[in-house]
Symmetry: C2
Subunit: 372 residues, 2 copies
Amino acid sequence: MARLSGGDPSLLRRLNAIAVLRALYAAEELTLTELVKASEVSRPTVEEIATDLGEQGLIEEVQLSPDAPRPVGRPAKRYRFRPESGHVAGLEIGPHQALCLVADLRGVVVGRARAEVTPEMDAPDRLGVARRVLGAAVGGRPNVRVLGVGTTGVVSGGKVVRGERLPGWTGLDLPAEFGGGCPVLAGNDTKLATLAEHWRGAANGVDDIVYVQAGRTVSLGLLLDGKLHAGHNGAAGEIGALRRVGWYAALDRFLAFGDGSGSAEATRRVFDALRGGDPEAEAIVAAFVTDLCVGVAAAVLTVDPQLVVIGGGLAQAGDLLTTPLRTELTRLCLFPVRVETSMLGDDSVALGAVRLALSRVERELFSVADVA
Amino acid sequence: MARLSGGDPSLLRRLNAIAVLRALYAAEELTLTELVKASEVSRPTVEEIATDLGEQGLIEEVQLSPDAPRPVGRPAKRYRFRPESGHVAGLEIGPHQALCLVADLRGVVVGRARAEVTPEMDAPDRLGVARRVLGAAVGGRPNVRVLGVGTTGVVSGGKVVRGERLPGWTGLDLPAEFGGGCPVLAGNDTKLATLAEHWRGAANGVDDIVYVQAGRTVSLGLLLDGKLHAGHNGAAGEIGALRRVGWYAALDRFLAFGDGSGSAEATRRVFDALRGGDPEAEAIVAAFVTDLCVGVAAAVLTVDPQLVVIGGGLAQAGDLLTTPLRTELTRLCLFPVRVETSMLGDDSVALGAVRLALSRVERELFSVADVA
């Protein structure tokens, strides 16, 4: 602040460059005059900055197509931001799938690859599949600026601090496994799925949410004040660890219905039976909802969110799950709470990893952090 | 940000004034030369600003005492911030006490008044006592800039949204009751006690805490990223509402020991008996800790804080309560969690209300919010 009032020229220059880049990022394309107006930076400075940003490949002067009507007099210079000048990759390494999404600097997904894995697979094999999937999705693009990785377990400082669910997972150092090419950021799968819901999902525009990952396991993600809440040990949302919450007993009964594999098919079978009015399915889902809601209500009463989003394999049940959930949560909590189902399907974790990576790049491009 | 790069003169002037005031607020007193250095603002501008701030009464030129050794040549101008130029009041209106603390602009408590009340008292009587206590603590100081009020129930937007514990409390509009003189900010008692622990208590310097108010009732306060987390309905931390948590059953058994009044004496009696090795007291405290920890663990697993602070009447038990609590929480949670007891006693809520009011005043004096 004092630096500002002192008026540091290099800082002002940076602020100007950021103002110009932001204006172009926000628009489709702008003439030099529009850019001067939008950035509130003087015309000669804008021209210098535009040259620098052009050399960095971040923006370009738009050429009139030869068959466009020749304008009267000297044509106005037009500039555009080049989202294709860089990419980010988001990689999920899960118990059942390795999925990678590659997006440009505007977050538009331009590459994708997926492979099935099994919970039993050992770490080297799982990492091998993940690397192949990453390579296939990147598809030789030279300019991947940041890689985001989402996986199961407690992830903190890039490391899997606790990963009992997958063999050889605890202690895994993800930047070490995937680094070299570009910076690597890692996060817990449920937490990244929470980010994805806020970015492109049911929680878009909502800044206080509890995300419930309900599938073969149950876990929670918190987004508070628009920011992911990771917790001191990176373990926020791990309420399922509380035995009295009784999630796993309920889940086992649920999954035991059908072939007990907890596969998508088995889950579908429970909800088909429910739709068909099967009393056993009804009893199982009712019991599951009752037990699930104890933990969800504890989280809702603790942080008092605007919205609860149900994601994971069970989200496919839609209202069959959310309607009783809504009723039970309203019964248990002080205030009625909005409950929505995720529509992101199997992409949510990888999409959250893309968001994680993209936020780092946006900070690099647009950050004024050291000004505040 | 664009405004900055545009270089708005009135904004720069404000930034300079803030830089000067901050420098003086941070120091005991400064010479003009020291002030120019500390604020990074030019000498003539500092002199103009000093005159303005002097006229506002926020700072003053320090006069050499007549008996001080006469310095050689023209004496250097010295300035000091005037914490006495304004005050804030923090008022607790509780079931058992009305307590008001008045502090100067550095948060030094300079006034205090307290009166006993009863849970049964009706709202007009309770508010009457609160007003008398407020008047007594302010003691005719003309310059109370903001009043903070802390009370029981869910408090949102200055209103008591839910206040079942006190007759006629739900729907109470605190700014309307206490306004006129100065702006009134209101908050839930447990949330303000949480602020107080962060400001002057066991959580000083810790930015992620769960505060457990354990007395005649149990409730939780959350401080996340150094900011109080109120929740969408102002109801964050109300996990006690969850029956399966079983706090009240445990508390009733606990309070039933002795005369059942839950008075400080009755509580002391339980812990004296415990120290004396009374098996009934041991059983009661053990049961209470077990049940208390279910809800605390749910909150700890949800937000994964750095520290749990135990406050309220039971905090007086110190290690008799925190030692078994620590053991039980470590058993229930994924990571060991630090547990401390509050040392703020009956002042915590009023002190938190002072902090609430002071933060508003600090924003008015030092804010650069509209710059970021």
